[in-house]
């Protein structure tokens, strides 16, 4: 498995767990805004630390691979992930910024924009993983 595919898997799993917990909790309860922000920030920090630790362990186990610069396939796969995720993010931002304000306010808008960001990032990593797994002839 390519080094950058491993990193994409780690990030994807960490994101799905962290933000799965966040959006499940806020949909099941009515937390005060400050608690929501603290929860989101806390989970983000935990997720980032988990990814850094996992990446460091992986790099120690495969040091030569980890030091290698991204090659043309890595760059092509990354571009594909970013360009598809960009459209997901645009749709999310239009929904949050143009459509939702007609019926929603405050924290619903903030959480919807956070959700759009998380979905776009998830799509980016998912595209990367799928491109490495199934092939990409960009």
């Amino acid at each position: 498995m390519a080094w950058r595919e491993k990193i994409a898997w780690i990030t994807l799993v960490a994101m799905l767990i962290a933000y799965g917990v966040y959006f499940t909790l806020i949909s099941l309860s009515t937390l005060p805004p400050v608690s929501m922000l603290a929860l989101f920030g806390g989970l983000t920090v935990i997720q980032v630390i988990a990814v850094i630790v996992a990446t460091t362990v992986l790099a120690a186990l495969s040091s030569e691979e980890a030091r290698a610069k991204p090659d043309e396939r890595d760059r092509a796969v990354a571009r594909r992930g970013a360009s598809i995720a960009y459209f997901v993010l645009i749709v999310g931002m239009i929904t949050v910024g143009v459509v939702m304000p007609f019926r929603d306010t405050g924290w619903r808008l903030i959480n919807a924009s956070l959700f759009a960001l998380v979905v776009a990032e998830t799509v980016r990593h998912l595209i990367v993983v799928v491109s490495y797994r199934r092939g990409w002839h960009g």
Partner: protein, 73 residues
Amino acid sequence: MAESRINNQIRTLRFLAGEMTQADLGARIGVTRQTIAAIEQGKYSPTLEAAFRIAKVLGKPLDEVFQWEDRDG
């Protein structure tokens, strides 16, 4: 799998070139071993530059290394 219309003989030519490993070939053209494996399996179509580099390292003309599969008849 995303289908490629480009076939290649890299695996055979590596064997004929003194059983060159994927890692050796990758190192000589500036890609990872996994990328060479992906090219051999038809999971990735290399750039034109990488294709020329591969052909040069294997000591063959480009069209002996890569072939276009014409499905249109």
